[in-house]
Amino acid sequence: MARILPEPTPETQHFWDGARNGELLLQRNKATGQAYFPPRPFDPNTGSRDVEVFKASGKAVLWSYVINHRPRPDMGTEPYAIAVVKLEEGPTMMTNIVGCPQTPEALVLDMPLEVVFEKFSDTISLPFFQPAKS
C-alpha cells in the first residue's frame, strides 16, 4: 500500500520543492529573524508579510513521541515512533526517526538529530530525522 503523502498548496509548495532537493526550508520574519512552521506567507508572531524562505540547519533534538502499535498498512511494520522534533531554529515538527531502533531505550528525549530525506514520488520526499553523526 502506497504511503499517505501530502498534497502541497501554493503556500507550502516551496517546502516540498526543498524537500525534493534535499533541503529543509523554513520561513522567517525578515525584521526579527524569527523562524516559524508550518509554512504560510506571513509571520504568525507579528502578522508581518515581510518574510523570507531560508535553508534550515537540519539539526534538531527529539522533543516527544509515541511508539505506535496500531496497524497502519502504508507505514510498513509496527511498532514505529511518531515523533516531534524541536528544530535548532525553534519550531517543532512531526516526523519519523530513522536509523535507530524504535524503542524507549534507543529514543531518548533531547538526543541530537539531523534531517534526512526519503523519496516517495517524483514530487514528494518526506523529511525524517536520524541520530546526529557529527
Partner: protein
C-alpha cells in the same frame, strides 16, 4: 454576561448507551433531544434555538420540526457543547432566543449513519502530520506527553493511577460501561496501543448522546426540575495540529478558557465542590488540574495519587467514571456537562452531598480547543 441569568432546565442522555446498532447518528440526537424535552415538560414547538456539532443545526432543527430564531453550529471537537452552552447563555441574555436545545449524538462504536475521520491531504494536518503515521487520536493526543513526563517526573504508574481511580467512581454508576475494579498493574499490563499508552489509559468507544435545554433564570423556576444556573463560562482554541502546541507540558487553550470562566463566575478554586475534566486519555485530568489552576504545574500526579480526586477526596473529579470508564462516543463533552447537571440537581449516581458549584471542562480535537462551564444550584 450577568451571572446566573440563564439556567439548564432540561437535561438527558440517550435512552440506551454503549452499543446501539439500531439507531443512526441523527436518531441518537433526536432520542436525547426528546428525552431532554420530556425532562423539561416541553415539545419541539417550545424550542426556538438549536445548537449542535457533528451534524448541522439545520439537520437537527428540521428533523425535530423546530423553526428556530437562533442556530449555532460551532464544531471544534468534543468540547463544542461547552461552547454551545456559553453561546446560548449570551443569546438568551441578548434576546435572540428564549429556549435553546443543545444536542449530541454519535455512533462511535456501531458507526450507523456516521461519517469518516479522513483529513484532506492538502490540509496542514494532511501535509505535515498524517504522512508520519498517526492512526487516530490514541497516536496523536498522546504525542506531547513524554515531554510532560520528563519535565515533571511523571511515571507510567501516575498515568495508570488516573484510570484506576476513575474506575472506582464508575463502579458506583449503573450506566457505566466498565464497573469492575482495576489495579495499576492491570493498566500497565493491558495491550500496548502507542507507548507509553496502554489500552486502559485510553477512552472507550461507544454509541450514545445527550441534550440540554437552557432558558432564562426568571423562567427556570416554572420547570419540573431544580434549575441549574450558568455561573461562568470560557472558551478558546489553540491548534489543529498537536505537533504545533505552544507548550507540550500545558494546554494554552485550557488556561485561557478556564481563567475566563473563573473570572466570569467570580469564584475561587476552593469554592468548587465537583469537577469534570474531559478525559479522552489518562493525561487529560493531569493537564486539566494544572491548567485550570487547581494545583501548580507538575503537582497533579501527587494530587491524584493522594486520592484528592477519588471517592471521599476534597475535589471529586469525573464522578461518572469519565471517558475512560463511563462512555465515550467521540465528542464526550456533553456527558461531562450531563454529570455536572446531575450533581447540581442532586440526582447523580455518585452524588456529592451538598455540592453547590460544579465545573465542566472540555477539550476538543487533540488539544485543539477548550470550553469551560461553571454551574451552580444556588441563585
Amino acid at each position: 454576561m450577568q451571572k446566573n441569568s440563564v439556567a439548564v432546565v432540561g437535561a438527558a442522555e440517550t435512552t440506551k448507551m454503549g452499543k446501539i446498532p439500531d439507531v443512526s447518528v441523527i436518531g441518537l440526537h433526536a432520542d436525547a433531544a426528546l428525552n431532554a424535552m420530556a425532562d423539561a415538560g416541553l415539545t419541539p414547538a417550545d424550542i426556538d434555538g438549536v445548537a449542535t456539532a457533528g451534524i448541522s443545526p439545520v439537520e437537527l432543527a428540521h428533523y425535530l420540526g423546530i423553526k428556530p430564531t437562533y442556530a449555532d453550529g460551532t464544531s471544534v471537537g468534543g468540547c463544542s457543547f461547552m461552547l454551545h452552552v456559553r453561546h446560548a447563555a449570551a443569546a438568551i441574555a441578548a434576546g435572540h432566543a428564549k429556549t435553546i436545545l443543545i444536542t449530541h449524538g454519535e455512533s462511535g462504536r456501531s458507526r450507523v449513519g456516521a461519517g469518516g475521520f479522513a483529513r484532506a491531504p492538502s490540509s496542514l494536518m494532511g501535509q505535515f502530520e498524517m504522512p508520519f503515521g498517526p492512526v487516530g487520536p490514541p497516536t496523536m493526543f498522546t504525542v506531547p506527553v513524554l515531554r510532560y513526563m520528563k519535565t515533571y517526573g511523571v511515571t507510567e504508574e501516575d498515568l495508570a493511577n488516573v484510570a484506576v481511580i476513575q474506575r472506582e467512581w464508575a463502579a458506583k454508576n449503573p450506566r457505566a460501561s466498565f464497573k469492575d475494579p482495576i489495579t495499576v498493574d492491570d493498566v500497565l499490563n493491558s495491550p500496548m496501543i502507542a507507548w507509553p499508552y496502554r489500552m486502559l489509559m485510553c477512552c472507550l468507544v461507544t454509541d450514545g448522546g445527550g441534550a440540554l435545554i437552557l432558558t432564562s433564570a426568571d423562567r427556570a423556576k416554572d420547570f419540573p426540575n431544580k434549575p441549574v444556573y450558568v455561573l461562568g463560562t470560557g472558551e478558546s482554541v489553540e491548534t489543529p495540529m498537536v505537533s504545533q502546541m505552544y507548550d507540550f507540558t500545558s494546554s494554552t487553550a485550557f488556561k485561557i478558557s478556564g481563567a475566563k470562566a473563573f473570572d466570569e463566575a467570580g469564584i475561587k478554586h476552593s469554592d468548587v465542590d465537583h469537577l469534570m475534566i474531559y478525559d479522552a486519555f489518562a493525561h487529560l485530568p493531569l493537564y486539566g488540574l494544572e491548567d485550570l489552576g487547581f494545583v501548580k504545574p507538575g503537582e497533579a500526579k501527587d494530587f491524584i495519587r493522594e486520592r484528592n480526586t477519588a471517592i471521599g477526596g476534597k475535589l471529586p473529579v469525573n464522578t461518572n467514571g469519565g471517558g475512560l470508564s463511563y462512555m465515550h462516543s467521540g465528542m464526550y463533552g456533553m456527558y461531562a456537562l450531563q454529570e455536572s447537571v446531575r450533581q447540581m440537581r442532586g440526582t447523580a449516581a455518585a452524588q456529592i452531598e451538598g455540592a453547590k458549584i460544579s465545573v465542566a471542562h472540555g477539550v476538543g480535537g487533540m488539544f485543539a480547543s477548550s470550553g469551560t462551564v461553571i454551574f451552580t444550584n444556588e441563585k
